[in-house]
Point group: C2
Chain length 256, copies 2
Amino acid sequence: MSAAAPKIRLFVDGALSPGASVAATDAQAHYLLHVMRRAPSDPVALFNGRDGEWRAVVQTPSKRHVVFEVQDQLRAQSGTPDLWLAFAPVKRIDVVVEKATELGVSALLPVMTRHTDVSRINFDRLRATTIEAAEQCERLSVPVIQPAQNFDPFLAQWPQARRLFYLDETGGGAPIATALQDEVTNSCGFLVGPEGGFAQSELDALALLPSARGISLGPRILRAETAALAALACWQALSGDWRAGLGGLANQSLIP
Amino acid sequence: MSAAAPKIRLFVDGALSPGASVAATDAQAHYLLHVMRRAPSDPVALFNGRDGEWRAVVQTPSKRHVVFEVQDQLRAQSGTPDLWLAFAPVKRIDVVVEKATELGVSALLPVMTRHTDVSRINFDRLRATTIEAAEQCERLSVPVIQPAQNFDPFLAQWPQARRLFYLDETGGGAPIATALQDEVTNSCGFLVGPEGGFAQSELDALALLPSARGISLGPRILRAETAALAALACWQALSGDWRAGLGGLANQSLIP
């Protein structure tokens, strides 16, 4: 692919339809006018997670404000895989959230396990990270970030019909390719523990949950964020939208 | 796995055999004495990429120097997969190198493509990153980092018998699971382009190379480092040492 000029794609809250006007946030206005030096009538692409992707043009009713005038639809809304990532917050939580967005997760669920040593989560920053990653990777949606839960209520509330693959660092799980090839999992989730691993009581509780299945990622000890991203990539390749006949947006030209 | 006390594992240059003495580097001495507060006779595990992993004890002939007295072997040297990662250097090159080490690559090959916009590579820092990652993930080897090459000589020197999977962002490649399930690839490599993608002339050259095969990672546009790590994870799961019956070091107790 050639190094085309950057195509600006922005996530907005407002409804997108022909002729609609959508106000840019202050941060978006600053980015468009002062970072990217866009002028009135310059094109952008907008998405809101509901109405697909739309061509719009920049208007500047005042020096600091930007309004988008929505023109026509570029892509219809399409489904994202029903893939959840539950994870013990780690120091590199931003990496987990950014990469998980690129890798197509629909929901992010922070879980405070026994050995989790990160106690504060900056949800505003995580939300901004998911939006920025969604804008860059051409997703039509932004993953939902759930409030943090403790391990026991998290497990108690896990939907019975949703397969939960947990990364068992003790080596007791099935090889990931075996687990993913054993069954079709259209809606599922992965659970990744903290750097210190799961407590034995947590592993015992997981073993009792019918929807849970332990998986293994080989002989090396992976950092938590590496394990999360590796598992998501394997799922997309074997069960998700990286499979034959399901891909192909990469070369689509969004803004002429 | 319980949150056990950190087990110190260090990479050394010297030969490892019963009774051998191996000098610690200044950085290792500082780490052991002042960061980890180790005392004479405390145990560590050592590996050098050739002789397996050995138990050793710390000795301090002077206040600033540390010598390791090698005792007995903990693990025999075992092969790593013959997996290369060729990549256009990107801003987050440290992430690529760290994660590739965890994901078991044997060689890292920086390739300067047409659209690569990183011109300087700090090889000393990359080497340190690979060593630290190998120490942490319980590898018995450290990946080799090759000198940077331009795209044309890189391609001309690629071994004919080694499959080269390149990540084709234009969507023209086979889905990665399909490509990996089509053939057994015991020795292979992946090539990942820069953020701007490959130039058309580079894609044309790849199409003419019999050992090269384009692969696709689905409909979203992945950052270069995400694409590299996702591809390596899929290979390990489907063709590498994450497969059934090949894993299982995770629970091994290295230092009693």
